[in-house]
């Protein structure tokens, strides 16, 4: 059934929207990887690069939102198309917040780079790797309409939550042992928190993708 021809220009616009969301997600992926690396390697230059990238993400957020609204007004989308555009509007919100958190991690990295390290960072980079994978999988699911990948994300989110609690407990113990470490330890807890929040937002994205495909709203948390 070659119905695709009857709404060719609309289909092209939908494709464009999807590509833009993908690009936005890729930038955030870079920000995420870069900020954790900057923290671990105490790389101020890298942190600055990451901080600059946040403007790009904000720009994408605005243009994609405008594009979606225009499509809603002008194309009268129904069913699947409508769900996709609605999902798109929510997803860019979540991705934009992820970008903000990555920005915060980069700022923390700059701060900590000027101070003596508290300990070897193990769990935070581990969290970083998992969250990166989650983000990558969610973008893949979005582009390929793959609902199966979503359930992986829910499991990984639980992992990240567990790791966050471990980091927090570790830092609390550290502060109790030597109060002078408090400033640096608290920054690290915050970084772990940012990563945990990013993971939450990725789960939101997963829920939206599932809705886009099936029309059902299912809580993943």
């Amino acid at each position: 059934m070659d119905g695709a021809q009857t709404r060719k220009s609309f289909d092209e616009e939908l494709q464009e929207m999807k590509q833009d969301i993908l690009k936005m997600g890729s930038v955030v992926e870079e920000m995420l990887a870069g900020s954790v690396k900057a923290l671990r390697d105490r790389d101020v230059a890298l942190a600055d690069e990451i901080i600059a990238k946040d403007d790009v993400v904000d720009e994408y957020n605005l243009t994609i939102e405008q594009h979606c609204l225009r499509l809603l007004a002008l194309q009268q989308p129904m069913a699947r198309d409508l769900r996709m555009i609605a999902a798109g509007l929510y997803i860019i919100k979540d991705v934009e917040r992820m970008g903000d958190y990555a920005l915060d991690i980069a700022k923390a990295a700059k701060k900590l780079a000027g101070m003596a390290p508290v300990k070897d960072l193990v769990k935070i980079p581990q969290m970083g790797r998992i969250v990166q994978r989650m983000l990558h999988d969610s973008l893949h699911a979005f582009v390929n309409h793959d609902v199966e990948a979503i359930s992986e994300i829910a499991r990984e989110d639980d992992e990240v939550d567990a790791l966050y609690r471990e980091v927090r407990d570790e830092m609390i113990a550290l502060i109790e042992g030597d109060p002078k470490l408090a400033l640096r330890a608290v920054e690290l807890v915050l970084v772990a928190r940012y990563l945990e929040r990013i993971a939450d937002h990725i789960t939101n994205v997963g829920e939206r993708i599932a809705y886009m495909e099936t029309g059902q709203i299912r809580e993943l948390h």
Binding site: T6, R7, M78, L82
Partner: protein, 255 residues
């Protein structure tokens, strides 16, 4: 079916042939009373044929033949011996092109009651006024009731036709693309009207305009090649239909 379903128009295995052409195949549906149901589908899918089955207007076509049952509440209107004239008093119809009679506005609306035996002038005046008010056109015509109906604009003529149909106090109103020949403002006025009317009347509307169906109806049925493919709440049909054919149609990707 032994008996109808209360508070709905129940259709069971309804088939219509025009000569050898099988226009409607085994349509079964339950249309709830006092609400608006839209019938959508591409040209030639049978939705108008189905609509005309409800007030037995298909009987007027010599080659038409039908099987199956249609119940309105607890009355089987497809039973042989049904008084079709009485039925059409109870089930009104509004057509695609406004078709007022070449008479005055008053006489147009009074036509139905007169034909059914009302002759008292004051009673007729009351009915005419009431119907024109219900059709949201009273204020525009109350001073010119004696004028020819043809002096009205297209949108006004269609509301006049609605008033004319309302004058015989129907329980059901069938609308066959009532706004397709009208400008957007008139269309919206008629949609507003439908919202008001549905408080007492069951409305079934056939429309090509999907946005109109989405705006106006609580339930929607999708027809294709003489079959009813899907029937559900409009919010479902237009956001997450179950059948792929329905989705292809509502998203405009019909091959």
């Amino acid at each position: 079916m032994v008996t109808g379903v209360p508070n709905s128009i129940s259709v069971r295995d309804f088939n219509v042939w025009y000569g050898d052409l099988h226009a409607l195949t085994n349509v079964s549906i339950e249309i709830p009373f006092r609400d608006i149901t839209a019938l959508i589908g591409p040209s030639g899918c049978g939705k108008s044929t189905f609509l005309r089955g409800i007030n037995r207007m298909n009987d007027l076509i010599p080659s038409a033949r039908s099987t199956g049952e249609i119940w309105i509440g607890d009355r089987n209107i497809t039973a042989p011996g049904t008084d079709v004239v009485e039925l059409r008093k109870d089930v009104g119809m509004v057509f695609q092109r406004p078709n007022p009679f070449p008479k005055s506005i008053f006489d147009n609306v009074a036509y139905g009651p007169r034909v059914h035996g009302t002759t008292d002038r004051s009673r007729l005046s009351a009915i005419v006024e009431g119907s024109l008010k219900r059709a949201a056109i009273w204020d525009e015509v109350k001073d010119v009731l004696h004028k020819s109906a043809f002096e009205l604009s297209g949108g006004q003529q269609q509301r006049l036709c609605i008033a004319r149909a309302l004058a015989v106090e129907p329980q059901v109103m069938l609308m066959d693309e009532p706004a397709s020949a009208l400008d957007p403002i008139s269309t919206l006025k008629i949609e507003e009207l439908m919202h008001e009317l549905k408080k007492d009347i069951t409305i079934v509307i056939v429309t090509h305009n999907m946005q109109q169906a989405a705006r106006v109806s609580s339930f929607t049925g999708f027809f294709l090649s003489g079959e009813l493919i899907e029937f559900d709440e409009s919010s479902v049909i237009f956001t997450r239909p179950h059948d792929k054919r329905t989705e292809d149609y509502v998203t405009g990707r019909f091959g």
